[in-house]
């Protein structure tokens, strides 16, 4: 079902006219209200009035994650705090998260786009949605929640964790739609099996999965194990949260981007040049309806490609390919963004010298696992095993506290972490996606 027929199936020409009008309004507003954007535009020698066509967007400088960090926490907000009704944050390096805000209207927009997304994924107002995305600063849980209410479906705000209880709820409440990260979903499937619960006897029809990279083979595994149709959802808090784009369950071939609210571009991550449809590069988003936290040409560092061909579902919005990687070494572990430099800062605080470490990411029993190898230099060393074990525990605890992910810390001998041209290889990702 298409939630908003008028906008979701709008002919391209009309859609592009709306995009241009909304883009111009957004540019005027951020130029007037956000000193960061005013400065950036002036440095580039442009004013909003010079943007007369959608192609002109390429004259505007990019916004990066670093820009958001530099303006931590509220420097990028385009409205007074009086008008901000919600704040979310995503993990960032050196303990500084990226903070985003929403006005009441922004929450309304987000709810609408999530209602559209849930519909595209197969949900109707008659469905019961089991929402296992985490509730909190992370946008996943609340994003789905508000969309489900907007759609008129029944939502179970079960959040993440306590897997056995989740299985019992699935059995007793009979939810028909599952929303979760794909890795947690496979974990749910395993725990259900251990508990002797078969998904054949549950009522699930559709699942909407995202917030971390996954693959076609994982989709097949989920669909086979859960006896459902699984679709991919995309979003990032900087742009809005979940619901920026989603696959329709009819085609399951690329994610429709809600172009009446976002302008998507693909650029060459090295040169910054815009690439034509079909070519693979870095996804860049401009929000054109957001009030509290608009982003202009925000570099997501996600690798994708755009496909403008009409879709069998009837939606006219361009489709992005499943995200195939990142332009930097950020890791997404169980839905949490992890930067190697965060681990570095944790180790720095303990050792006060530059640590040699390596992150090893694996997927065991369908759950992401993070191991942190730390070379034991003289500063860290002790002749007492107990002290070394306490050191492992402390590093593990600090990582959990600062990054929000559990890590197995393993002490290793100096110079055992492989170095490439003198530089230690910081990340080994063994996940077969």
């Amino acid at each position: 079902m298409i939630f908003n027929i008028e906008y979701e199936t709008m002919p391209r020409e009309a859609l592009e006219a709306i995009q241009l009008r909304r883009l111009q309004a957004t540019l005027n507003r951020v130029y007037a209200t956000v000193p960061f954007y005013q400065k950036k535009f002036e440095e580039a020698g442009i004013t909003p009035s010079e943007i007369r066509s959608l192609a002109d967007i390429q004259k505007i400088p990019f916004t990066t994650k670093q820009d958001l960090r530099d303006n931590y926490p509220f420097g990028m907000f385009a409205v007074p705090m009086d008008n901000v009704v919600r704040i979310h944050a995503s993990s960032g390096t050196t303990g500084k998260p990226t903070v985003v805000g929403y006005t009441a209207r922004d929450i309304g927009t987000w709810s609408e786009l999530m209602a559209r997304s849930l519909s595209a994924g197969g949900a109707t107002r008659g469905d019961i949605i089991h929402n296992a995305y985490g509730y909190g600063l992370f946008t996943g849980g609340l994003g789905v929640h508000y969309g489900a209410e907007k759609l008129g479906a029944s939502i179970i705000p079960v959040s993440g964790g306590n897997t056995k209880r989740q299985i019992i709820i699935m059995k007793d409440f009979g939810p028909t739609i599952l929303t979760a990260t794909p890795s947690y979903t496979l974990h749910l499937a395993e725990v259900a099996e251990e508990m002797g619960v078969s998904f054949k006897d549950l009522k699930f029809k559709y699942g909407i999965f995202g917030a971390e990279p996954w693959s076609e083979s994982m989709r097949q595994e989920i669909e086979n194990k859960l006896k459902i149709i699984a679709v991919d959802i995309y979003g990032l808090s900087e742009v809005m949260g979940p619901g920026v784009a989603i696959e329709c369950h009819e085609a399951k071939a690329g994610l429709h981007i809600y172009e009446d609210h976002f302008i998507a571009e693909i650029i060459d991550p090295k040169t910054g040049k815009a690439l034509p449809y079909g070519e693979t590069g870095e996804l860049v988003f401009t929000s054109i309806t957001k009030e509290a936290f608009p982003v202009i040409r925000y570099r997501t560092r996600d690798i994708s490609a755009l496909n403008p061909e009409p879709c069998i579902c009837g939606r006219s919005h361009v489709r992005m390919k499943r995200v195939s990687g990142r332009t930097d070494d950020m890791l997404i572990i169980r839905g949490v963004n992890v930067f190697p430099s965060q681990i570095e800062s944790v180790l720095m605080q303990i050792d006060e010298v530059e640590p040699h470490y390596q992150l090893v990411v694996d997927r065991k029993d369908n759950l992401d696992t993070l191991s942190v190898l730390v070379e034991v230099g003289e500063h860290l060393f002790s002749d007492e095993v107990r002290n070394l074990q306490n050191l492992e525990k402390k590093i593990s605890k600090d990582i959990k506290e600062i990054l929000g992910v559990s890590a197995a810390v393993k002490l290793v001998e100096p110079k055992t972490i492989v170095r490439s041209e003198g530089k230690a290889i910081r990340v080994i990702d063994n996940r077969k996606l």
């Binding site: 034991v376 003289e378 060393f381 002749d383 290793v412 001998e413």
Partner: protein
């Protein structure tokens, strides 16, 4: 009254102790006593050698992390109750032994044990007050 001990961090992999002892052998260093404490992932090899400086240099050259700690060498009567006597003296004054191990000393009627104390000075004082022989570092290296 203190004895310097060197300790080496080792991953729990086959051949690691062989490598350490090989490096020491190459440098002509004699191991006088040693103990290994380990977990499933790593271990700490502690040694009393006859030339600490040379041993440290040789091991560091091969990228080992080497630590130095002061321990105490104590003479113990080589008969039933010998170790018990020492430990009960320490227990009475609540001095905790972090770890201990035996020293190889042929041609003697007394055994020698290496003790690691948190409160080293105090432990030495108490032992001596109770008539226990604490061996000087210089002597230990060449015993």
């Amino acid at each position: 009254m203190k004895v310097e001990q060197i300790s080496v961090f080792l991953e729990n992999k086959s051949g690691r102790i062989a490598e350490v002892t090989g490096i020491l052998a190459e440098s002509g260093i004699n191991i006088r006593a040693l103990s290994l404490a380990d977990t499933s992932d790593f271990g700490v090899l502690r040694m009393i050698v006859d030339n600490n400086q040379k041993a440290e240099e040789a091991l560091k050259k091969h990228n080992f992390t080497v630590g130095k700690t002061f321990v105490v060498a104590v003479e113990i009567e080589d008969k039933p109750g010998g170790l018990y006597k020492i430990l009960s003296i320490l227990h009475k004054v609540s001095i905790n032994v972090e770890y201990m191990y035996a020293f190889v000393q042929p041609n003697s009627k007394n055994a020698v044990m290496i003790f690691r104390f948190e409160k080293l000075e105090e432990a030495v004082r108490v032992l001596q007050e109770n008539g226990v022989v604490v061996i000087d570092g210089d002597k230990v290296y060449t015993l």
